[in-house]
């Protein structure tokens, strides 16, 4: 388990990934962001910091997470072998804890006793509340009012962990609005509060820092693939909302001859306009502190995203993904709500695993892609989270569809 990352020259010293990234924030926040960057650069090369994080990963999170060969899912898809990187088995049930422990450790180093976070599906909120409880910090989580309703179990978990959940009614009441409100709160509380951003989005250094903390996913996958198969996989697949589990999986493979595919949420279909496929159907713009692809009108107003999965329901995406798209190093595809729900059902019944709806998008594409490939190829899917939080949505959708998934 290596928690120390190298940056392969990206981003540059100003936080740019080619034409993307940067720091587009009001002046009130700039000094805090510069302070954070300096603090992060210090711990990045600090062995004591990384050994503490490694110890937490091993004994608290339960890392390394398994790389599991999904035999029956593979048979059902009928082609390449499908392996699952089981981030759903982490403590708190998703990959988000990798990042929140890293940032909470950094917050403690910086002497900040209060943390805030935005959350969509609630996984990052739960992971932040968990880290805050572990370190005895005060925690406030901003969550869109619509997400509070559709991810009620996670709201209860955050409250039980001692966090305050602020329901955000503005806009569409989803992840974008939660992040707006978290940034506004941070503007007022910046002197003593650490903002734990949950994705590879936001102003520099967040995209780099979150990528580094999540790289443990790819580093482990690499070691596990080499041990189990004696070679690297042919294709890596992960869902992309903001893109943190995908970036964490892809990053340690960027220099290898391994295909990378990010799966966005096509919602009700890209042609309907009700989707969250930012890289597939968006244009370049600035949102939440970084330049990247966004869903926007031709006048530069951000438009509502839609996905059955609250964690993917976001009209922006991390800037490093924008660069990987432009360079062609990774490809980005999209999967609809109904395809994701079907994949949820398929994994549940073939493997006895209930995946998060976010991860179900990656699974749907993986089954399609595996079917097209010969049996000696290997596809790794990041199973970024477990599906317990989505049971109401999935059973509701199943009822609408006449009982079956």
């Amino acid at each position: 388990m290596d928690t120390q990352a190298t940056d392969q020259g990206r981003p540059d010293s100003m936080g740019h990934y080619g034409p993307f990234g940067g720091r587009y924030v009001a002046e009130t926040l700039m000094p805090a962001i510069l302070e954070l960057e300096a603090a992060y650069n210090t711990v990045r090369g600090d062995g004591a910091f990384h050994s503490e994080l490694r110890e937490l990963f091993q004994n608290y999170v339960g890392r390394p997470s398994p790389l599991y060969f999904a035999r029956r899912l593979t048979e059902r898809a009928g082609g390449a072998k499908i392996y699952l990187k089981r981030e759903d088995l982490n403590h708190t049930g998703a990959h988000k804890i990798n990042n929140t422990l890293g940032q909470a450790l950094l917050a403690r180093r910086m002497g900040k006793q209060k943390v805030i976070a935005e959350t969509g599906a609630g996984q990052h909120g739960v992971a932040t509340a968990t880290a805050a409880a572990l370190f005895g910090m005060e925690c406030k989580v901003f969550m869109g009012v619509q997400d509070v309703a559709r991810q009620a179990p996670n709201v209860a978990r955050m409250r039980l962990l001692g966090a305050t959940v602020e329901s955000v009614p503005s806009g569409t009441g989803t992840l974008k609005d939660a992040m707006n409100e978290a940034m506004r709160f941070w503007v007022g509380a910046v002197r003593d509060t650490f903002y734990v951003i949950g994705s590879v989005a936001g102003p520099h250094p967040y995209p780099k820092m979150v990528r580094d903390f999540q790289s443990v996913i790819g580093v482990e996958t690499r070691e596990q693939a080499l041990a189990a198969l004696g070679r690297l996989p042919d294709l890596l697949i992960a869902c992309v909302g903001g893109g943190s589990n995908a970036m964490g999986l892809f990053y340690p493979f960027l220099e290898d001859n391994v295909e990378l595919a990010g799966v966005e949420a096509a919602g009700k279909g890209i042609s309907t306009g009700k989707h969250a496929a930012t890289l597939c159907a968006g244009t370049v713009g600035v949102l939440h502190g970084a330049k990247s692809y966004v869903l926007q009108t031709e006048d530069g107003q951000i438009v509502e995203a839609h996905s059955v999965s609250a964690g993917l329901d976001y009209p922006g995406v991390g800037p490093e993904h924008a660069l990987l798209k432009e360079s062609g190093r990774a490809r980005y595809v999209s999967v609809t709500d109904s395809q994701a729900l079907a994949a949820f059902g398929a994994l549940a019944r073939t493997e006895g695993i209930l995946p998060a709806l976010e991860s179900s998008h990656a699974l749907a594409f993986a089954m399609e892609e595996a079917a097209r490939r010969p049996k000696d190829q290997v596809v790794v899917v990041c199973l970024s989270g477990r599906g317990d939080k989505d049971l109401d949505i999935v059973t509701g959708e199943a009822a609408k569809a006449g009982g079956a998934l």
């Binding site: 940067g22 506004r184 926007q296």
Partner: protein
């Protein structure tokens, strides 16, 4: 000489501070917004800040968020805000500063934005989420630099950084009165005085202070220490409360006059 510099020079000769008024373009609707802005300028606003609404205003409190939503719902956009500058310019002599987030400007086109804003009669531009670190891209498209790019400075800005920002600035410097979003409560006048003095120690440019100033008493106190007093959310509160009423413009005039009197009577 730029209209902004001329305005501050003239006021300075009389020992007066400027009343800087902010309103969101297109609030409550396109027509009445023009009436509001004219009323502000005719009754005492020395510098007009015209807010371009953005869907995700992360530096703004609830009042300007709602104003932005109303304006967007009525079809306001950057091209129309520039059109409003052109219309105002025929009757308004006060400098006009376009106040925007970066994304609408980027979508409009950086070079086209500069040319169109200048041709319409704008004098300055303030882009809330564009710190000096990121503004090279935009300034590279500004041929001749005839528009002032107004820079923000905050209480959290270290003095050395203030100096760097001030060295690249023109027109005036906008000092954020508190660590918070626009329209926040809890204005601390002693802190404003201290922060203004700290900023003045590194610049000769006029300093305008804004965020959370709403009463004539607050405006007077700030005018004693700074060359300009910015009032924004308070105008938007009036528009929100009386936007549908016939006497909206008269209320705006009355409120503007009360602020102007306070600022003039401050005696800097």
């Amino acid at each position: 000489m730029s209209r902004i510099k001329e305005t501050f020079d003239n006021l300075g000769k009389r020992g007066e501070s400027a009343l800087v008024g902010f309103a969101t373009a297109g609030d409550p609707d396109l027509e009445r917004s023009l009436g509001v802005l004219r009323a502000m300028c005719e009754s005492g606003v020395d510098v007009l800040e015209l807010g371009v609404p953005f869907s995700d205003p992360t530096a703004d409190g609830p009042v300007i968020q709602r104003a932005s939503q109303r304006a967007l719902a009525r079809g306001m956009r950057l091209s129309r805000a520039i059109g409003m500058v052109r219309e105002l310019r025929s009757s308004v002599s006060a400098p006009i500063v376009l106040f925007s987030y970066y994304n609408p400007v980027l979508a409009y086109g950086l070079s086209r934005f500069y040319k169109d804003a200048l041709a319409a009669g704008a004098d300055g531009v303030l882009v809330v989420d564009l710190p000096p670190e990121e503004s090279g891209e935009m300034l590279a498209e500004w041929e001749g630099r005839e528009l002032d790019l107004i820079r923000l400075v905050a209480p959290t800005t270290p003095t050395e950084r203030m100096r760097t920002i001030a060295d690249q600035a023109s027109g005036f410097l906008y000092l954020v009165s508190m660590t918070g979003v626009t329209g926040s409560a809890g204005l601390d006048l002693a802190e404003v005085a201290a922060e203004t003095a700290r900023l003045k120690s590194v610049t000769e440019l006029p300093v305008c202070v804004g965020f959370g100033i709403s009463t004539p008493e607050e405006a007077r106190a700030v005018a004693r220490v700074a060359e300009g007093v910015v009032v924004g959310s308070a105008f938007e509160r009036l528009i929100e409360a009386h936007g549908g009423e016939r006497d909206l413009e008269e209320r705006i005039r009355e409120y503007t006059r009360s602020l102007k009197e306070a600022v003039q009577g401050a005696g800097r």
